[in-house]
């Protein structure tokens, strides 16, 4: 994973709350077996509306999505994160994220930062006043900057560290392989095993 520090890009005022992952990418795009190329599925239903924000000229090459509360609810599909990433997004901000979605973001190098409801509204208004304006996202100081506006976002320390270092979770875990093996040596024999196959 690429190391993330700070970056600047076009911000999108995304005035929707309760955006489930079915809306981010419908199930029909989940039939693929690849891990890239999901940009065509991103908000595919909403994008059929010519007035939809991502269809407007200033937002054609966006990097930062600022959404309403409860973003990424529902299905665990990581495709939602892949679609945002493949479309060009590097960060998503919302007052509240669904747990699985936020965890998926952290695995794919997409910054998911929590900001307050009032800061969300401030950002929306500032971006709408200058459509296509660029925001600066500074991960080390957990700050979003837009002109005079300076807004702090929350991200858990560990995810921040992993994103900043570009570290792969599996590699980190395998440093504890001896402890996993030790745990397994104590695993009770009644605990489930799928093999050998039992029953008819």
């Amino acid at each position: 994973m690429e190391k993330i520090s700070n970056f600047t890009g076009v911000g999108v005022p995304f005035r929707y709350s309760n955006v489930d992952t079915d809306q981010i990418i419908p199930a029909i795009y989940l039939k693929r077996i690849t891990k890239t190329g999901y940009e065509d599925g991103l908000f595919s239903t909403l994008r059929q509306d010519p007035d939809f924000v991502l269809n407007q000229e200033p937002y054609k090459n966006p990097s930062v999505l600022v959404a309403g509360s409860d973003f990424g609810t529902g299905s665990s599909r990581e495709h939602a994160v892949w679609a945002l990433r493949d479309f060009g997004f590097k960060a998503v901000f919302s007052p509240k994220f669904a747990d699985i979605f936020r965890s998926n973001c952290g695995k794919q190098g997409l910054v998911a930062g929590v900001i307050s409801n009032s800061d969300t509204t401030k950002l929306w208004e500032a971006m709408e006043a200058q459509p296509g304006v660029e925001l600066e996202v500074d991960l080390p100081s957990q700050t979003i900057r837009l002109g005079e506006l300076e807004i702090n976002f929350e991200i858990d320390e560990y995810t921040k560290w992993r994103l900043s270092e570009g570290l792969d979770d599996i590699g980190i875990t395998l440093q504890n392989e001896d402890k996993i093996a030790e745990f397994e040596s104590r695993r009770a024999s009644w605990r489930p095993k799928t093999l050998p196959v039992k029953g008819d």
Partner: protein
């Protein structure tokens, strides 16, 4: 004196491999990993790229469910991308030596129906799957949660997951359900009460006399929809109902193992005096059948009620979502829920496709006819459920009624396969999500219980079983 712990905290303690320090997550051991065709191909590719093997093939099991047809299953899958995805799972499981139950196999079916049916899901274990409805398995007193594809790869490679401890929430459901009211109505009422984000960051523990009185099927229905309240996991402490359901299943412990397990399982309850981070109370005595009117599972109301006026919501974003929802659902505020006509009825999904669900619906429709102009599809949760239902003659009841009797799979719950609700059509669905476009483009979904689905199929309008008595 020992520390007083909730059920979820006990399971966390007993699966802790490494305690995280300096803000790092804990490393939690995974007892059972279920996989399916949609969220696994990229995880296998990741393993292959890194040259890693699966750590515990003997704790991993695969089935085909999301993207599979529910009729003509003897023919090759018609849609090329679906066929390719199912083929990828078959090739991956063969290459890595993972047990798989493919289309046509008796144990093929929705992954959350298959695990419990095989006796692999049991109290006191951790279960994960690349599917948010993995919370279903919490009904056994297991810590079970949905994960993303990167986490699927992580579990395949390490049999563990780095996780931050959850907060705990008690959902106390006291009292007794009235006739015609079921587990689905309890969970829809809970979600309407706490909202789709109310459980975010929590493990829910469903407690109280109304939960204790439920069968395992009913408890699975409730835990299944924990994610619809934003909670990654939901659970019920195991009791005699749990043990009785499990005993004798193919992979349930036997002999000395069973005795040892029982000794442990009996300790799996929240200690007297343990504190939850949050508590919610629901009175089961007062519950009516519950249905949704909007486009998220929290937008629900008593079937005796009416479509709410968006202006009645205090929160501006709730007001806006209600407005958008009513527009999509083509509903007017003040319309009585029972006056809403539907075009189709779907009985199925990991929420309500178990034998008890099919029996409850069949009992109501027996000897009756599907309302004119309606269609109905019955999709058993697994091949085994289908066979069991056929042995009981339920298939004949459904077919005589005018419903289609299908093979097992996720089907119209998410409409990945050809089973979709038509455009601008209205469905009464026993599934778990009424999201925009979920059951097909512009499809309008009302979430209902199996008996409400059955009564609705008879009358053509959203109906309670008690409406059939008039």
């Amino acid at each position: 004196m020992a520390e007083k712990l909730t059920l979820a905290e006990k399971l966390w303690r007993d699966h802790l491999v490494v305690k995280g320090e300096d803000g790092a997550p804990d490393l939690i051991y995974i007892d059972l990993h279920l996989i399916h065709e949609v969220t696994s191909p990229q995880a296998f590719d990741g393993l292959r790229l890194a040259g890693r093997d699966i750590r515990r093939k003997d704790l991993t099991i695969a089935t085909e469910d999301h993207n599979t047809p529910t009729k003509d299953i003897h023919l090759p899958i018609a849609e090329p991308t679906s066929a390719k995805q199912v083929q990828a799972l078959r090739e991956n499981t063969e290459e890595y030596g993972v047990r798989i139950h493919s289309l046509g196999d008796k144990n093929q079916g929705i992954v959350h129906v298959v695990g419990p049916q095989l006796g692999l899901t049991m109290p006191g274990i951790t279960v994960v799957c690349g599917d948010s409805h993995t919370s279903t398995h919490g009904a056994f007193g297991a810590l079970a949660m949905g994960i993303g594809t990167s986490e699927v790869e992580h579990v395949l490679a390490t049999q563990t997951l780095p996780l931050k401890p959850f907060k705990t929430m008690a959902i106390n459901v006291e009292g007794s359900l009235r006739p015609g009211v079921s587990a689905k109505d309890i969970i829809l009422a809970i979600i309407a009460k706490i909202g789709t984000g109310g459980g975010q960051g929590y493990v829910l523990e469903y407690r109280g006399s109304a939960i204790r009185e439920l069968s395992m099927e009913g408890r699975m229905t409730i835990c299944n929809m924990s994610i619809e309240a934003g909670a990654r996991a939901g659970m019920v402490a195991p009791d005699e109902t749990t043990f009785e359901y499990l005993k004798g299943r193919p992979h349930a412990p036997e002999g000395k193992d069973w005795d040892e397990a029982m000794e442990y399982w009996k300790t799996l309850k929240t200690d007297e005096g343990a504190e939850f981070d949050a508590e919610v109370f629901i009175n089961a005595d007062e519950l009516d059948p519950f249905v949704t009117w909007g486009t998220n599972p929290g937008q629900g109301v008593s079937l005796l009620g009416e479509v709410p006026d968006p202006e009645s919501f205090e929160d501006p974003s709730d007001r806006e979502s209600a407005k958008q929802a009513l527009k999509y659902m083509d509903l007017q505020p003040g319309t009585k829920m029972k006056d809403i006509s539907v075009d189709t009825v779907f009985l199925g999904s990991c929420t309500n496709s178990r034998i008890e669900d099919l029996r409850a619906a069949a009992k109501l429709i027996k000897g009756k006819k599907l309302a004119e102009g309606l269609t109905m599809m019955v999709v058993p949760g697994s091949q085994k459920v289908r066979i069991e239902a056929e042995l009981e003659g339920l298939d004949k009841i459904f077919k005589d009624f005018g419903a289609e009797w299908r093979f097992a799979g996720c089907s119209a719950c998410l409409g990945m396969n050809p089973d979709q609700v038509g455009e601008f059509k209205r469905a009464a669905s026993t599934s778990n999500r009424n999201f925009v476009g979920r059951q097909g483009k512009n499809a309008r979904t009302h979430l209902v219980s199996p008996v409400v689905a059955a009564a609705t199929a008879i009358r053509g309008t959203l109906s309670a079983p008690s409406d059939l008595e008039d």
